[in-house]
Symmetry: C2
Subunit: 88 residues, 2 copies
DNA sequence: CTGCTATTTAGAAAAATTTCTAAATAATAT
DNA sequence: ATATTATTTAGAAATTTTTCTAAATAGCAG
């Protein structure tokens, strides 16, 4: 995991909101997009960044692409943060 | 605390390295700068962003300004991350 | 007060990010 | 095979971020 990518990915409010949506349930790209006032192309761009950071994973079904959280990377970020606090 | 500012602050590698330096000890702006190949003005810019995000605090002594970590904001970030994982 | 050191602020250039439109893929359905 | 729907890719414009140089501020020290 590359912290650079992970933190950059989480630094954008749209992407954090996507993470929160996916916390509740797996969603298709289109369903995610319906929560924002942006084109599908822009949502696709944000999804690609979360994917590169391995914060989400995708699975294809019919002609939909479903996205879900990958909590293990979230955990690694938390570990880095916890070392800042001195608990290690 | 504003997550936007906090995550943005942590999204830059220079600023994360500053956080790691300050994890060990309080340092002056100049001492922090000596770890990077950048002008003091640039370091000052990065410090200002960490300060706005309340990730660090400053105290003045003589004509030095010393910086230290503020771990309570680090903890709030960890809390947000933990809700993603579903532990709450 | 004058000079010296530490740091910040201002303004501009360079680089990276975000967003859009238009076109391309991919998969399904008729 | 053609049409339709879902999504991504490419390229460009707009915005934001990072960095620098030069100038300003702040606090000693002599």
């Amino acid at each position: 995991m590359a912290f650079a990518e992970t933190f950059k990915a989480l630094s954008d409010p749209v992407r954090r909101k996507i993470m929160e949506l996916l916390k509740k349930e797996t969603l298709s790209a289109g369903e995610i997009g319906s929560h924002f006032d942006m084109t599908g192309a822009t949502i696709s761009y944000h999804l690609s960044i979360l994917k590169k950071a391995e914060l989400i994973t995708e699975t294809r079904q019919k002609n939909y692409i479903y996205y879900s959280l990958n909590t293990s990377v979230v955990e690694e970020v938390m570990l880095w943060l916890s070392t800042l606090k001195g608990d290690n």
